[in-house]
Symmetry: C2
Subunit: 274 residues, 2 copies
């Protein structure tokens, strides 16, 4: 697999950064994961929009137009003949001067999870931790890495990050939602990343007149929810039926979650034009 | 300047990491800054000790003996004929397997600050933020980078990180101390990095029977201190005489701070053998 660096395509072995580069050293970068499904780039405009938003939050000057980066994404996907992949875009800023950033793109395989994950739900753990710039998708992701690794060690699919105030914010790689008596609750945008799938799901809820609110979710409230689900670019909408070895609701995907999984699938199919 | 990678010395241009390396991506690494002064490596054992401690905290398996890494440090300093430098050691773990880590070392110039910084003290700002793994020197340092950049933009030397409970923890690149009626107070080790200079300064305080305590320091307490100073490998002991444009104490280095600056200089000279 090749890598695009500022729009030029290199062999992956040549897409390297210096260990002594201050931007790498200090994580002065932002990133995105764009899904390519059946050869179609999924919502690239939403991802590049967020890339620039993340950069703005941490004060990183990208120095390119959004449209140009979109062209690089399209060109990379075409040249690499991507079918089912995640395109990772990683933008490192210039830590010393305010010169232009470096935009890397590379593809990794898109993970397809077994049907039973969707049909039966997955297990999660809670993990005490929060990102430093929660509204930006920055390269500062050690807490996500360690939370997710801890989940895997305990046989769970995801780790739900609990902040210092004791509120559940997001998964290590996903946005979080609970269902309380048919109302969907998700943490407010001042506390979490505005996931692309989150935007799409909230739009679906609105169009289908499913009530939802953006509110902080204490750990007690999380554990007492009727249903819990998470969303992410690679896993779409997935039911969480157990947290910290305790069953959530009936311990199986609930009606609201099943409906949203279905709505999301239909929307994705429509976007794919089939 | 060359770079040591797992003990072998390469040209700096060849000391590269892949943009797609998960350990780089997720900041799954730890680091150290070792000072070389007049050709002498300063307290390398303390730094390698802490390197292993940091690695343990984030669950990174270095896969080498401490003594071997010390040999690499000594060999690198000798081959590169280092005089006044900082050797940065950066250890990236293996994010996928539990294989050995990669140990990079490279030298950067040692910054000497003007005498007046020590004689008159420096300005600092406060910055809301804290590191995710405060007791480990991990590569997850965006908050430090942004805090320090904010300080520079405001004409200050350092940014003091204030945690969510409103306590002053540490500088973006230093440990923090206040003086209250001749007693030195510094935050406890559960909240901050155990700086090598911090260890040395506390030892000096003990030897010289200067009273000190490890306690949390609220922002109000910080601003009301008689004196404030910071310590770091590159800047040693430095007085902070202004925070957020407000004078601290008399607005000049106090007697306790001046004494500690002097004690530290004497100790450093002794270590250098002159």
């Amino acid at each position: 697999m090749k890598v695009s660096v500022n729009g030029t395509i290199f062999e992956q072995k040549d897409a390297l950064v210096s260990i002594a580069d201050k931007a790498v050293w200090y994580d002065f970068g932002v990133y995105e994961n764009i899904k390519v499904l059946q050869g179609k780039i999924m919502w690239p405009e939403m991802h590049t929009y967020r890339l620039f938003k993340s950069a703005e939050i941490i004060g990183l000057h990208i120095g390119e137009e959004k449209e140009r980066i979109l062209q690089w994404v399209r060109n990379y996907a075409e040249v690499q003949k991507l079918k089912d992949h995640i395109i990772k875009i990683c933008v490192y800023g210039d830590a010393d001067k305010n010169a232009r950033a470096t935009v890397y793109m590379f593809a990794i395989g898109l993970t397809f999870y077994p049907d039973q994950f969707y049909a039966q739900g997955v297990k999660a753990i809670t993990y005490q931790g929060e990102r430093n710039f929660p509204t930006a998708k920055s390269m500062d992701t050690l807490v996500n890495f360690i939370a997710f690794r801890t989940a895997k060690e305990r046989g769970a699919f995801e780790a739900i990050l609990i902040d210092r105030e004791g509120n559940a914010r997001e998964g290590s790689r996903s946005n979080l939602y609970i269902v309380e008596k048919e109302t969907i609750i998700t943490p407010p945008l001042e506390d979490v990343l505005e996931g692309v799938t989150r935007v799409l799901v909230l739009k679906l809820l609105e169009e289908n007149e499913i009530p939802f609110k953006e509110e902080r979710i204490s750990k007690d409230r999380l554990m007492a929810a009727d249903e819990i689900f998470i969303t992410a670019t690679s896993s779409n909408v997935m039911s969480v039926t157990e947290i910290d070895q305790q069953k959530i609701g009936a311990g199986a995907p609930g009606e609201a979650t099943k409906q949203i999984i279905q709505l999301y699938r239909t929307m994705q199919k429509e976007y794919l034009g089939r």
